[in-house]
């Protein structure tokens, strides 16, 4: 196999060779590799193209900060764009393709944009593409869009599953590097509940990437020993492959665990789990990220962060070049060089801009102090560098270290504003940190190993002590402090070619200078104008460099120029993971009525109403369309008898000595004196005087009412009544018990309904005298099953509603059907219900849309002015009861062959459909078999005075315009004789 760049050692498992494909080329790696390490081992240097100029790019880093090596991982519906090759674990059969190029990766035709760079610098698009105006959408923008963007979605439904979960701990430690592990040991040994999370699949952080000694053993052995100890503690939970991505209020952290991304297939398990972690304390042990230095053509494949070269060699046993040069302004670059040399990597040169003696000697390497790299050559692969001393060197890999930036991301999620620290040349956490959060190790500016271990240990002990735990006596693990001197050196000037700051978004030092010249000097202006730090890496390697270049341009210091803050997430999180299980069938819970099984057997078509599935109509042999079914159901109900499951209506039992007084406050019409055994229609207003619900409420006994609400508003009505009960009338003896799910309730309606009820109800006189319109009673049915019977009517016919405990609902509907068989009883669905209520002029949610007053629905008389009920005062505001306000009207078409449509607006004959001429709208329509035509309900300005008028229903979006006659809304049996019969 062609692992030409593989060296000895490392943490890859050579006993588990893996095969994978990049751009269709078959390559080989080992278990423990990332896609990036395996590509480098195979000598693949060109892996992608930059965002704007389509410059050839190689692997730049070894972690989640990667700006260049973004690939489309997997294929088909599993294709995952913009995946960092540096964090993708290698598995057998992995496929990946490069992205953002037209034609092969090596010959991207879009790279012509690179030649146009003088004309397409920062903000160029704000200054052009304006003429002619119509060209923007048609020509300019499509071209921009096609060349922008990065990877592509498959456009197929994501086939994977996602899950969510909830964890609780005393102490969350994010990052399992030296400080995080030291912290976990301290807190774990003291007995605190600890969660230790790391985005990597190996614990250890930089101890895997570098060569250190801790407590007398190698850093890597110490990690192993620590992992074993932590794993043995019941109170410690280790979450590798888990990125803590957000710090939210009150100690809540968001984390994403990648469960199966390292496997060829997820099986039937979730691919990722989105954890919400409730913490009492949290420690950020997130380490630091290395950054680059700006110099001409510093973006070529082969130019990498120095520390990542060290990581590839130590952890993955990969030499990233045959001739490696190091350009560093700090001591860590020298340690990198020394370790690489020790591992047998050929170091050709070390270039350091500092005017100090060379910190060490590296065998075979030429050393240039006080010198910088000022240019490079090699389009698809670095092959030469030029130094400021005029020297030219051959190199196929250049490691750059511009210093290390503490990972302060999670400290900024709640207003924290990092502060500049000159000693480490970086921002450290500052400002308002999230409550309960502390920071340790390099994240806090403790850049050396011993300091990191100590601060992890110490901060953990302080955190658990504040929770009442007694820290163990163990000391912090011992290690040496490596040298960490740095000179603030950002930018090699004096060369004309572009020097990159943000590699992914192609922001160069020239762009930053132009931004300065044009007045975009505030940090946020700079970012927004140049797009610095806006790419998928969110500027992890570029923000501070950009700030420094701006500071240079304005002649200010970095802290005077500003700071850099980060928003969640720390690294990007899949939309699917946020969505979790809530997809398709399980987007919301589904509620089923007690007769659901029976209705399914009866050929019901169901419709979703506020999570309920309700029978819309029942298909019968001979029905040619749904209209046939609905017409049949209406006609048979009006002629004989029909039955409908109305269990979805909200039901609230209201109990207590003050129940009647309470309802009198809640309803706008009087309720104090409803007799026991009677039902009353009630109208509920919001405090602003708008109707929001209506329904019937039955007084079952002195201290017991049963309220019905509309299906949609059950929860809201309950909540509002709890508000009134607890906050407005706290001493009333009244109690609310939601009983919606307790009862199966069926409306039995039609002239023969009394016969049906008489057969079912035990020992009750259902004659009109014995049980008149608006009567109610606790009864039993079918030989002793407890039930409630109400004589109420929505259809306008003689009608009853019969309720039994829900477990008897299936049996009851079958008994009702049997009892009604002699009258050819018909089940009816919500469509027929709707037809009958429109014929009758009853309002529903289509009318009560949250803007409608009692006045609008001609029920102003129901707002009792002699009592103080919710909404009564504000319902009387001048413009809400003005004569020209809309009123509920009935609508019939003039030419019966026309159809009516809901949503049409009402306008006068011979006027244009304009806002000024708008007279109202149609809220509900249906075909009425009774009237043999379409009818509707609607709202018309001063509509009460216009019954009999002919006007127009104009429906521009549907292209219709029909003459209609305005009528009373009570079209069917306006006197109401039938329902009282």
């Amino acid at each position: 196999m062609s692992n030409d760049f593989r060296i000895d050692g490392g943490m890859v498992d050579r006993n588990q060779p893996l095969t994978f494909k990049f751009n269709n080329k078959t390559l080989h790696g080992f278990h423990g590799d990332t896609l990036a390490s395996a590509l480098l081992a195979n000598g693949e240097r060109l892996v992608g193209r930059s965002f704007k100029y389509h410059r050839p790019r190689g692997i730049f880093s070894a972690g989640s900060e990667e700006p260049n090596a973004l690939v489309q991982l997997r294929s088909g519906a599993y294709q995952e764009p913009n995946t960092r090759a540096t964090t993708a674990e290698l598995f057998d059969g992995l496929t990946a393709t490069s992205q953002n190029h037209r034609g092969p990766l090596g010959f991207d035709v879009m790279s012509v944009t690179d030649l146009l760079s003088p004309f397409i610098g920062a903000g160029f698009y704000y200054k052009t593409f304006m003429w002619p105006a119509a060209f923007w959408e048609k020509i300019y923008e499509p071209v921009i869009r096609a060349s922008a963007g990065l990877g592509a979605l498959s456009m197929q439904e994501d086939p994977d599953k996602y899950d969510k979960g909830f964890l609780h701990c005393d102490l969350l430690i994010t990052g399992a590097g030296p400080s995080g592990l030291a912290a976990a040991l301290a807190a774990g040994r003291a007995g605190a509940r600890v969660i230790l999370a790391d985005e990597d699949f190996e614990l250890g952080g930089r101890l895997n990437a570098e060569s250190h000694e801790i407590a007398g053993m190698s850093g890597r052995d110490w990690v192993t020993q620590t992992r074993i100890e932590l794993s043995s503690m019941d109170n410690v939970r280790i979450l590798p492959r888990t990125t803590v991505w957000g710090a939210f209020d009150h100690g809540i952290y968001g984390a994403l665990e990648r469960k199966t991304d390292h496997l060829p297939h997820a099986g039937d398990k979730p691919r990722q789990v989105l954890w919400r972690i409730y913490t009492k304390r949290a420690m950020i042990c997130g380490g630091a990220t290395e950054r680059s230095i700006a110099f001409a053509n510093n973006d070529r494949p082969g130019i990498m962060l120095a520390g990542s070269i060290r990581a590839y060699a130590n952890r993955w046993a990969v030499a990233t070049g045959k001739q490696v040069a190091i350009f560093t302004n700090n001591d860590s670059g020298w340690q990198t060089a020394a370790e690489l040399a020790a591992l047998g990597v050929n170091i050709t040169a070390i270039i350091d801009p500092r005017d100090i003696p060379a910190p060490m000697h590296i065998s075979g390497a030429s050393i240039a102090m006080g010198t910088s790299v000022c240019n490079t050559a090699g389009r698809k692969q670095l092959h030469r560098i030029t130094l400021t001393n005029g020297q030219t060197l051959n190199a196929d890999c250049l490691g750059v270290s511009g210093g290390w930036s503490p990972n302060v991301h999670l400290t900024c999620h709640q207003r924290g504003r990092p502060v500049w620290n000159d000693n480490i040349a970086g921002f450290v956490p500052g400002g308002d940190l999230p409550v309960g959060q502390t920071i340790a190790g390099a994240s806090n500016g403790d850049m050396t190993l011993s300091a990191a271990l100590k601060s992890g240990h110490k901060s953990a002990n302080a955190a658990i002590k504040s929770l009442g735990f007694t820290p163990s006596r163990a000391q912090a693990p011992r290690a040496a402090d490596e040298p960490f001197a740095i000179k603030q050196f950002w930018h090699v000037t004096g060369h004309k070619a572009r020097a990159w700051v943000d590699l992914q978004n192609d922001v160069t030092t020239k762009d930053i200078k132009q931004s300065q010249a044009e007045g975009f000097r505030a940090v946020e202006h700079l970012k927004r104008y140049t797009t610095l730090g806006m790419a998928t890496d969110q500027g992890k390697t570029s923000n501070i460099l950009g700030l420094a270049v701006m500071a240079e341009a304005t002649g200010k210091t970095i802290p005077e120029t500003g700071t850099t803050i980060f928003r969640p997430p720390y690294s990007p999180v899949a939309i699917g993971a946020f969505g979790g299980r809530e997809r398709g069938q399980h987007f919301h819970p589904t509620r089923l009525t007690p007769s659901h099984k029976w209705a399914t057997e009866q050929g019901a078509e169901f419709v979703e109403v506020g999570n309920w599935l309700r029978a819309q109509w029942f298909h019968r042999a001979g029905d040619k369309s749904w209209r046939d079914s609905v017409d049949r159901e209406v006609i048979k109900t009006r002629k004989s008898v029909g039955v409908c499951d109305v269990s979805t209506l909200g039901k609230i039992d209201i109990k207590g000595a003050d129940a009647a007084a309470f309802l009198n406050k809640i309803y706008s019409n009087p309720f104090a004196k409803v007799p026991v055994g009677r039902v009353r229609y009630g109208l509920m207003l919001r405090e602003d005087g708008i109707c929001y619900d209506d329904g019937t409420t039955a007084r079952m006994s002195e201290n017991h009412f049963v309220m019905t609400t509309t299906t949609a508003n059950a929860v809201l009505v309950y909540r509002n009544m709890e508000f009134a009960r607890q906050c407005l009338f706290p001493d009333m003896d009244v109690h609310l018990i939601s009983t919606t799910d307790q009862w199966a309730q069926f409306a039995v309606a039609g002239p023969k309904s009394r016969d049906v009820i008489a057969k079912l109800a035990d020992d009750i006189d259902v004659s009109n005298d014995g049980f008149p319109f608006m009567a109610c009673a606790d009864v039993t049915v079918c030989g002793g099953t407890p039930a409630r019977l109400f004589r109420i009517s929505f259809s306008g016919e003689i009608a009853y509603e019969l309720a039994v405990p829900a477990r008897f609902g299936d049996a009851l509907i079958r008994e009702i059907m049997a009892a009604g068989a002699e009258h050819d009883i018909t089940p009816y669905g919500v469509e027929a219900l709707n037809v009958m209520r429109i014929e009758k002029g009853h309002v529903t949610g289509a009318e009560l849309d949250g803007r409608i007053t009692a006045f609008n629905i001609n029920m102003d008389g129901m707002v009792n002015k002699k009592k103080d009920s919710i909404g009564s005062t504000l319902s009387q505001r001048e413009l809400m009861i003005a004569d020209d306000q809309v009123r509920l009207v009935g609508i019939k078409i003039v030419d019966k062959s026309d159809t009516l449509t809901a949503g049409a607006h009402l306008i006068a004959p011979d006027t244009a459909p304009t806002t000024q001429n708008d007279l109202g709208w149609i809220s509900s329509v249906c075909y009425s078999p009774h009237f043999d035509q379409h009818i509707g309900l609607g709202f018309l300005k001063a509509g009460n005075a216009k019954h009999g008028d002919i006007i127009r229903a104009w429906d521009g979006v549907r292209g219709t315009d029909v003459d209609v006659e305005i009528t009373s809304p009570h079209m069917y049996d306006p006197e109401g004789g039938l329902q009282r019969g």
């Binding site: 409730y278 589904t590 089923l592």
Partner: protein
């Protein structure tokens, strides 16, 4: 006329999944006992005398082998007692008119999840801290699971009662089932 036959929300579902068992419980009466204004002391005595149980407190249920009482609202108790013919009358016999009694037997679906991994499974659906030092035996809470209002009671180390609205019983079962499957 024949008595009406009963059905249960999940037809007596009972399944072993991994090292766990998930089943529907259908042999209980559920009633809510609203405490009349200033009537808590009276009710407490009545419960002691009539049900031989002490008054539950906001997070702690009281129970014996047959029955369990929960405090579901500051002025409402929830009783889980052996299934009888008429829940309200049965409770009224025990405590008289010391509370406003409302039958809730049919308003809830009751599941029991038991087995060593049950807490791990519940991590995927229940946001409460169920660590045995925090959520102890007989502790109860009302909360939300997959956007469904629910109740959870720890009846033993690895045994939990989970309750939710009966109309969405199938959705609730699915949510619990998936949580169990995902960790087994």
């Amino acid at each position: 006329m024949a008595n009406l036959t009963q059905t249960s929300s999940l037809n007596g579902y009972d399944q072993p999944i991994g090292d766990m068992r998930l089943r529907e419980i259908t042999d209980l009466d559920l009633t809510s006992l609203a405490i009349p204004h200033k009537g808590a002391t009276k009710l407490k005595t009545a419960i002691k005398n009539g049900l031989s149980l002490s008054m539950p407190t906001p997070m702690k249920s009281t129970a014996d082998a047959k029955s369990r009482l929960l405090m579901t609202q500051p002025d409402q108790i929830f009783a889980m007692t052996p299934r009888s013919k008429h829940a309200e009358s049965t409770i009224r016999k025990a405590i008289g008119d010391t509370a406003y009694i409302t039958d809730q037997t049919d308003a809830w679906v009751v599941l029991e999840l038991s087995g060593p991994s049950s807490r791990t499974a519940l991590e995927r659906i229940c946001q409460l801290d169920l660590h045995p030092d925090v959520f102890k035996k007989n502790q109860m809470a009302r909360t939300t699971m997959e956007h469904m209002g629910s109740m959870i009671i720890r009846t033993d180390n690895d045994t939990f009662i989970l309750m939710s609205a009966s109309s969405s019983a199938a959705s609730f079962l699915h949510a619990v089932e998936i949580s169990v499957q995902h960790v087994s």
